[in-house]
């Protein structure tokens, strides 16, 4: 039954590169996710349907979906179905934002006030190009914004997006989608952020940064540099954030 699919074991590498069936199924489902066959928020076919489609048992499809679910690419809901993950849901709105208020939980805090300071198209500098796998001089979009909590400016972010996938992004469109940036990327540009890496340092701001955050140039701040990736480990965003940590802290769970 697995005759056709296990062709992966025929490739001529030294180690036979055995790939279990469920991994191959996972790859196929992944392709459908990338190609947009199922849109974020939509249900994918039931396990039975997928099993029939790939000529495999339900258990094998199940294990494939288990991994996609563990990777946060898909969300299972018992009795309802399996859905393409999205940043649009309240629950996962701030999945990548690790800054939390010192007292009280995340929920207790009111919604962030977002101010777009700047949004312009320019040519990628060497380091921005490297982070986004572009060539120096390629068109990129640069956005600067401030997030305030309880009226206190707390986060200053500069972010860079590759020009081509984000053609047509303007300050107006950014502001109109009150905040939820990654959710907007999905609906407006078909770009879904899947994972990210962050590098954190302690720095002091320059005069301009200090002014935007209402602090002095001697105030230590967290510098958080993030590269966010879509499917296939394609980098799609570089973000440099400065976090005030007088009332908030960066929280991380190690396991």
């Amino acid at each position: 039954m697995s005759d056709t699919l296990n062709a992966a074991s025929l490739q001529g590498s030294l180690t036979p590169a055995f790939s279990p069936l469920y991994q191959q199924i996972k790859g196929l489902i992944l392709q459908s996710l990338q190609s947009g066959e199922w849109k974020p928020g939509e249900a994918i076919p039931s396990e039975m349907d997928l099993a029939a489609r790939f000529r495999v048992s339900q258990g094998t499809v199940r294990k494939a979906i288990d991994e996609l679910s563990a990777d946060n690419l898909v969300v299972r809901r018992q009795g309802k179905g399996t859905f393409v993950a999205t940043h649009a849901e309240r629950q996962v709105q701030y999945r990548f934002l690790k800054l939390q208020p010192d007292n009280g939980n995340v929920q207790s805090e009111g919604p962030a006030a977002r101010t777009i300071i700047d949004c312009k198209r320019l040519r990628a500098s060497a380091d921005v190009a490297r982070a986004l796998s572009l060539r120096t001089g390629d068109s990129v979009l640069q956005v600067r914004r401030v997030l305030s909590f309880s009226g206190v400016p707390t986060i200053l972010e500069d972010l860079w997006l590759p020009g081509t996938p984000f053609k047509g992004l303007t300050a107006e469109r950014l502001s109109s989608h009150q905040g939820a940036m990654y959710a907007m990327f999905e609906t407006e540009f078909g770009v879904r952020m899947v994972r990210a890496d962050e590098s954190i340092r302690a720095i002091t701001p320059d005069a301009e940064q200090a002014a935007l955050l209402s602090v002095t140039t001697t105030t230590p701040l967290l510098s958080v540099e993030r590269v966010a990736y879509t499917y296939n480990d394609t980098p799609m965003e570089l973000r440099r954030g400065l976090y005030r940590t007088d009332t908030h802290h960066y929280r991380n769970a190690l396991s």
Copy 2:
């Protein structure tokens, strides 16, 4: 066959609190891990043996172990067996240390030089007691040490341990086990750290801290406060670290 074990579904809560068999098995295995029936580094019984012991199918035991493996409590090795996870292996030596050199990978860096500055027994202050679930005034051990990379002092750590489980810990014993602190906790005190939470801020050091790290009191540093837990979410260590981020950075993967 599952008659005896599914007794969990009989407890008198409003929601029937259905607990799948494999979760109950996971709990039983967890108990054996806590009780020390199998020591860190040792193999646990084979899936077949455990299945026989618990009167369950191999698949059910497998799913239980799958989760324990995902929680890093256990390590599977195909063809050999399943082993109790330990901090003693080279590979996971620095599992909880997220600081990395800016250039090159973790391996390229020589081993850290560790200097014990202080190690004394004292009474827990209010905040230390709260973090360790003790009462103010309970006996705790306080250790201060500096880690240097390539001769540069980079990390200054203060850590507090509950006095009772760590009876007999002295500066000498700390130094003699060149570094690998969590591994030593396992072999010498039977305490295995399972997970941890970190809160990160940017701060400037006081005069004493600055001197120990060879920086000025205006140098911004990362303040990393960690609470580490054993089995059962019991807090067993409070650690306050100051990290220099001029040549290193705190790295975090978001997914």
